[in-house]
Symmetry: C2
Subunit: 500 residues, 2 copies
């Protein structure tokens, strides 16, 4: 339970009322934070089966306590939990919320002051010198405080905020206006290997009038955020081969081919200095933005300069287009390079091979197969023979001056919901009214989620509704949830579950 007026003030950045202004009848949301920290104390790395089972059991109880009927779907990985709450009046309209309860792997030694599963509060972000603090027994809680723990933001905080929103609606006499469904997986950080099967097999229990995916951070402006699509993704490993083994760089340097130079030349051929990918057809299938999508983009506060300052660089890779516009284009990224040795004394050799790890992001209408084929064709067009085995054969080595291997890793397409979908419009309006602000509407999330499973496979209007702070150290050490975002998340979700 919490006090909406305080929350609104928090959101608008106003000074908090002093603790004395709290009334006994409207306690600050301490119990909700207590439920969250207890939940965060259960380690939840997807590969850790016993702990994952404990999380699933706790989650089942938490939802059943609110009246949900819960089903546990076993998978080769972590169990998927599906639940339904039919409120009084049995509304025929249904809304499904997606969350995940697993967290990224942790390196405890990289966490400051406490382990990843011993939640602590700080009065500001660690990076700004935040000190460890204790929750006061009563009175207001500074919204700038941060709760540090693995999954505080990604994605346990939103789960508890959702349950708190239901509690709050009931406590304040606001009826739930939709039948509520939840879908919660425990393998999201391991790539959601079971989700496609579960979504297809449990389609009847998941499909609804609106699917709300609650994961990831809000727009850096801090406004409530709706996302109408997500990019697809595929990774690839590109290996360029030189001699069979490393060769002495003095005896054979500039005579034997150097795969590091060849890889550099190949990568350079894929993108021009203005950031434009030069692989033939790379942008061909991109669907132009609609008028409404352009309008939504124009309404988003421009955070490019602020982000560039925070991240520490002077020029974007693709100058002239802002971040949120670029999210509607496919990408080609190099996430790793490896050849020879770069540490210590090094070794003066011509490395036998050089490897680049790539990831490609897709937008609506681009199929992973087609984009991978374009990448392959480009590499061949640069004169490389692409081998199909693990390593070049003697015959291939004797025949082709340029030898490479391209290994495809995973891949799924993008998904997108029209901004003009009526149920989505209604949700945006409800949140706008409740929080007195214009939510950010992003046609496409930059990152990749299996959005297409909902928007394209289930063919349900789907929105992403991230609620946590963008500076949450998601996936890294010292992950944190801004307390004000947690309060706001309760407020936002209450608006959805009680909307007309």
């Amino acid at each position: 339970m919490f006090k909406p007026t305080v929350l609104t003030a928090l959101f608008l950045g106003l000074v908090l009322a002093p603790a004395g202004a709290q009334t006994a009848a409207s306690p600050t949301p301490r119990s909700e934070l207590g439920e969250l920290t207890a939940f965060l104390s259960i380690p939840n790395v997807a590969s850790d089966k016993p702990d994952i089972a404990r999380n699933a059991a706790r989650l089942k109880t938490m939802f059943e306590q609110r009246g949900f009927h819960m089903t546990v779907v076993q998978t080769p990985g972590s169990p998927v939990l599906i639940g339904e709450l039919v409120p009084p009046g049995k509304p025929s309209r249904t809304i499904t919320f997606y969350f995940h309860y697993d967290g990224q792997p942790v390196t405890p030694s990289e966490w400051k002051d406490s382990g990843p599963f011993q939640p602590i509060y700080r009065d500001k972000p660690l990076e700004q010198g935040g000190r460890v603090v204790s929750l006061p027994a009563s009175g207001a809680i500074d919204p700038e405080w941060r709760l540090y723990a693995r999954s505080a933001a990604d994605d346990k905080g939103p789960i508890v905020a959702f349950l708190s929103a239901i509690d709050e609606a009931r406590a304040t006499g606001h009826p739930l206006t939709s039948t509520l469904r939840v879908l919660m997986e425990g393998d999201e950080e391991a790539g959601s290997p079971s989700l496609p099967t579960v979504v297809r097999e449990q389609a009847a229990q998941i499909r609804s009038d609106l699917i709300v995916l609650v994961d990831g951070p809000q727009h850096p402006s801090g406004r409530p955020t709706f996302v109408f699509g997500a990019r697809g993704i595929m990774s690839a490993e590109l290996t360029v081969f030189g001699a069979r083994h490393d060769l002495h760089s003095g005896n054979y340097g500039n005579w034997a081919p150097n795969p590091a130079f060849e890889l550099a030349r190949l990568l350079t051929s894929m993108k021009d200095p203005t950031g434009r990918v030069t692989i033939a057809g790379f942008y061909k299938d991109v669907v132009p933005l609609t008028a409404e999508e352009k309008k939504a983009l124009a309404e988003i506060p421009d955070v490019d300069p602020r982000l560039m300052h925070a991240f520490g660089f002077a020029q974007q890779e693709f100058p002239g287009q802002r971040l949120e516009a670029l999210h509607n284009l496919p990408t080609l990224n190099v996430s790793g390079l490896g050849a020879g040795t770069v540490t210590g004394q090094g070794r003066t050799v011509i490395p036998a091979q050089a490897v680049a790890r790539l990831d490609l992001r897709f937008v609506k209408n681009i199929t992973p197969d087609a984009q991978f084929a374009r990448l392959e064709a480009h590499i061949r067009a640069q004169g490389f023979h692409l081998i199909t085995g693990d390593a070049p054969t003697d015959q291939e080595r004797a025949t082709y001056p340029l030898l490479a291997k391209l290994r495809r890793i995973g891949g799924y397409p993008a998904g997108r919901t029209p901004l003009t979908s009526p149920m989505a419009e209604r949700a945006v309006a409800a949140v706008a009214a409740a929080l007195h602000t214009t939510p950010v509407r992003m046609p496409t999330l930059g990152g990749s989620t299996p959005f297409y499973l909902f928007s394209d496979v289930l063919k349900a209007p789907t929105v992403g509704m991230p609620v946590v702070n963008f500076d949450d150290n998601q996936h890294g050490p010292n992950e944190n949830l801004r307390v004000g975002n947690f309060f706001n998340a309760i407020h936002i979700m209450q608006a959805i579950v009680t909307m007309r």
Copy 2:
């Protein structure tokens, strides 16, 4: 002691006489191999001080047993041994031999059948299925056998061959015609940090009428090899900076700059697809080959096709020029690339930085300082700001679109002796006569040795005279010395120490 007629036959590749053809008066060189294997049993990694001290003590004894007057020069690293043997008749002409007694670091688990300091014989190279064999008690020893141990080839085998040559000359009544000096260091594999000081301080004890550096492998043709110069070397670490930390490749991909692409573009700008370095002035100071050097190159058997087959590639980096000709040009090599993660699941990030490890080789007349300055100028000409601190400052990050750091590591120049140096010509002729073949004369060794200390600092006629098999796995696991090369090495050195 050994039987010259057998050795000559070995060298010419003739079938060995059966064991019965050996006479009791001309034993095969078992005692020499015994002295070598005993010496190889003492571990000799430069960083291992107690073992290095044992090697130095053993070496001092081995040389004193032959009548050398030995001096041990202490250095911050391993001791340097300097010795002199004045033969009967006190010849005024002196020849200095250089060797090193330390070996490359070892990873014992990578050695097959035996540890790096437990010498074993095989009947062929391991790569050709060689089996472990025992030295027969009498009779001929197959020259194709290999002796496996760290430093068998690099560089203890040549030391024992040198001592054996003196023994053999004395046993067969051939007088030593020069005063012999030796210089032996124990830090060669650690980069010879003390050698420049020792050579300068002990110049009077080292300078001579001919300096013979005995290290490294023979030309792949297997002919006796003389090297008249060696390239200099410098390493460098080139780091390109993107954002302060890794960024999510979905949220920020193709918006935030990717230093892996920037590094690829920068490296690509340094060398064209025909292998020619495109850094301005890179080849400017190269001195054209003399007529005699061109002639020597033309006489060297062309091993390019054989090496390409062995190494497994179809085209040289710099087509149209053979290996030994390219050794007379400076090089730019990428020995390592590193950015993000290429192993395991990878991480879909834009890496914060990308690193290339470079090495540059120099030929005569190119100074390390000038070549490094050209590299720096080239990087700047590509639009990069080169930082001088460890990491970019906030101000640098906010100002420069392209940020890099270039760290210079070590560096020394090339050295070269004219092919027409009279003492060098005499040595070549002596070996040619003794082995009945035309030795390979390489104007410049592809690799780098501190040749310049002798040729340029001491201003003494200097030649490299590598004697071991080129396929010796030098620096790697399973280093080996072809027994026939050991026998030939004794023969070659005897020709030098007894030459007119």
